[in-house]
Amino acid sequence: MNRALSVAWLAFVWVLLWGSFTLLTVVGGVLVGYVVTAVWRPGEMQGRLPVRPLALLRLVGFLARDIVVSSAAVSWQTLRFGPRTRGAVLELPLLSSSDRVVAIVAGAYSLSPGTLVLQIDLRESRWYIYVVGPRDPADVETARRAALGVQRRVLAAFGTPEEHRTARELEAR
């Protein structure tokens, strides 16, 4: 089942690469997908993720808005402070034990401008992220809250109900 999905995805990318939707490119894509998944076995999956379409849609919308808002923020830092721009390295609780959810949150952090995952400590369940912009402890707390909000939104879409609840409690604190 998972392999069929991988093959379908690879075939889709193949068709996009060719830029034409014909029988030849589709069949070629499926063939390439089968060969690739036969040579490189996809990693073990740890069961299905709970996916909530509405929360997922909200997450995508949030990320789309976030990339615009935070691009403007990074540009502002560049123009206003330039060489005197400062940053912070924050420690955040990692609330999910699923590798895939961790990967999605890390992607979300890295995609939104101004934040970057430096280190993931799975044993201690901690993230370490770099944030550009904070200049005093109050800014740091604002950034921390924003980062927790990103994690909360991902957990709303993919996390277990308990993880989502913990995330909300942490953010409200």
Partner: protein
């Protein structure tokens, strides 16, 4: 006509984002902050330019442009983390530019080398 105007607006907005990214590369002080400028406004700039271009080419080519955006989204975070981690471990992160560093106490053995003073 309207399509041309929309397309031109998207291309110009994307180009100015890329310009701001380049400016950040010159003006920002550290590896980590420069990476923000190099990768993030750039991503938005690329999306805008792709959207602007997609309006002006045949549909089939526009779909290929979508692939460019997808690869940007799935590869940029991986590279960002690799470079960021190496920069931190290599000691390129200057403590005086950080308001707080909550990672430093956690890695006494392999933390960044602190320049004296």
């Amino acid at each position: 006509m309207i399509l041309d105007i929309v397309s031109a607006a998207l291309l110009l907005a994307g180009a100015s984002q890329c310009l701001l990214g380049a400016l950040g590369l010159v003006r920002l002080p550290s590896v980590l902050s420069r990476m923000q400028a190099a990768t993030k406004p750039q991503t938005l700039g690329l999306f805008l330019i792709l959207a602007g271009a997609a309006l002006r080419v045949p549909l089939e080519s526009a779909v290929t442009l979508l692939l460019v955006a997808v690869f940007q989204v799935i590869t940029a975070p991986v590279i960002a983390q690799l470079v960021g981690r190496s920069a931190y471990n290599g000691g390129s992160v200057q403590p005086r530019l950080l308001v707080v560093d909550e990672l430093a106490p956690r890695m006494p053995s392999e933390g960044p080398e602190r320049p004296p003073g």
